[in-house]
Amino acid sequence: MSAGTHQTGGTGSGLVKWIDSRLPVFTYLQKEYAEFEAPRNFNWFWNFGAILTFMLVMMIATGIFLAMQYQPNTMLAFDSVERIMRDVNFGWLLRYLHANGASFFFIAVYIHMFRGMYYGSYKAPRELLWMLGVIILLLLMATAFMGYVLPWGQMSFWGATVITNLFSAIPLVGDMIVTLLWGGFSVDNPTLNRFFALHYLFPFLIFGVVILHVIALHVTGSNNPTGVDPKGPQDTVPFHPYYTLKDSVGLAVFVTIMAAFVFFAPDYFGEPENYLEAAPLKTPAHIVPEWYFLPFYAILRSIDFDIWFIEAKLGGVLAMFGSIFVLFVLPWLDKSPVRSGRFRPVFKWFFLILLLDCLLLGYVGGHSPDNKVFEGVEWLKVIHLGYLGTFWYFFHFLILLPLLGIFERPKPLPKSISESVLGGGSTGAAATAKPMEKA
């Protein structure tokens, strides 16, 4: 194609046109972020994609400035973090933003994922979009884990020791993998060095997968609370200014809440013991991961028995990774043709139970397995809730979802988004569809 036939950057100055005809970035932005047609009926849960994009950029930005001051050496790491807190101009702000940012990143990720699960956003044709999201989750977990090791506090060290040791459960190559992760025969300076290098690298991998995630989203278009595909322009609005503004409102609320923690309770999500420098000869009484790993940690510890020839330790590791793998294949486990939980009277309740189950597992992960759940009730230990929670998690995904797809009778779907939105005068389906919003 010859130059000059490809003048698309309609508005804008001569320079914009000049660039756009050679590298159509402005056309792309116009097409994908301004004119891009999005369903008109998003609720506030659809804000979290934008919030997560902001969080990723915020974490990378604060992280780069922290890296300019941080020393990845076991002799210096802990003190260099304290130097950031005390002597670097606004270093405390950078570090507290980064540390609390990790927690709020996960809060947003989990809301984003549960939103996707409730409204069936993983179903055809969005399977790859969802799977890319699960890959982002895995990368995010690895990044957060390695980042938590960097301050070289007691929980950094012992968390790293416990989690890296998990890989030794893998038959044949396990020990080799652990040695490779450690760069030696215990968690030590080489471990800290490589974790720092990888902690700096992974966010950019995440950024890459996020780009793929967004490309996939822009091929299929967004899902929406009805789960019904847009039928035409009456069902959509241009992304800009409608959703740029709505996303900005949600982001501002989210950042306000985060700021309240950063400035007024900056250590709320943290483990106090991580303010003690790592001491390889002093094991803390309770080694607990950060809160966002607690449900997975609970699943890991709940397999404390051998299953046939699989030893308990390997079983726990398999269950923990399995709990994420089931998300990966979720599009094929849920066979219901209906996307949105709004029209799935049975699924709706099991979704709620799954949510509670994850919270239960979070509780289990934060307490010693042999602790009593209630004072005075001797027979009920935390581990028992762990068995129950772990069982239910896999039961939900592997048994219930496939069966629900066969046996559940979904409510009638609205014919279109606009019918569902405008409601009155149309079929009863639309009216029952959004009972919340009739109030």
């Binding site: 008109r40 009926n41 998003f42 609720n43 506030w44 849960f45 304290e82 807190m85 005390r86 405390w92 702000l93 927690s103 996960f106 809060i107 989990y110 549960f114 609005v237 409608y242 503004l245 709505k246 900005s248 409102v249 501002a252 609320v253 950042v255 306000t256 809440i257 700021a259 309240a260 950063v262 400035f263 007024f264 900056p266 250590d267 709320y268 999500f269 483990e271 106090p272 303010y275 003690l276 803390p284 009484a285 309770h286 607990v288 809160w291 966002y292 607690l294 919270l359 979070g362 992960g365 934060g366 307490h367 606009s418 939105v421 405008l422 409601g423 959004k434 919340m436 919003e437 109030a439």
Partner: protein, 261 residues
Amino acid sequence: MSIVSKLRHTALAAGIALGAAAASGPVLAAGDAAHPEAQDWHFEGIFGTVDRASAQRGLQVYLEVCATCHGLRQVAYRNLHDLGFTEEEIKAIAANYEVTDGPNDEGEMFQRAALPSDKFVSPFANEEAAKAANNGAAPPDLSLQVKAHAGGPDYIYALLTGYKDAPADKEVPAGSNYNPYFPGEFIAMPAPLFEDGTAYTDGTNATVQQQAWDVVNFLQWAAQPEMEARKKLGFKVVIFLIILTAILYAAKRKMWSNVHH
């Protein structure tokens, strides 16, 4: 359909998720120790500030009592400026301590008086020396102790004032002391504070409680010297964000007013 009800519905759900995440946040590592009583600290709450008179007395307690065994290596003498000490006072405090410097132009290490720019001089040359002098267990550095325990200030106050005779059914191991607030109840540190153990320069009556109170105020400042600046900036940021949110919300409503959704 009302935007407000929709917003309320969504905010509630988000709030539940956030609350649940928050509730699972701080994990109790209580053990079997007695639960410290909550005290009413001056630095608590979003308006809390450092009680400077108390923290200044706390410095005296630290220097005269705690510093015999415990370091404070994250804090520099110059930082005492935050607590209201003058430059001259800071120089005088630092000059009481010696640091090893060098090498000089003859290649020798040498001793000199500490300067305001030096960190607090630790009582022991290194961890091994600290262990050797203390039955094999080095006394922890106090710079971050307030942040390193759940309910830090209350815990340290309870610990310092909580020494008592062991109940008859408990045998205190040699070299240990009974303190119900310490995890495991037996603590290597003997009761450090006594009535009038510190001769306060401002004439305050030095009860054990008063000394414990003052040293906790001092250590809480030492653990987070940025606290006042943080809260002050926090007000500006949060108020700004709330106004921004309101403006964005108004703009969003106006923009969406012609769209049924």
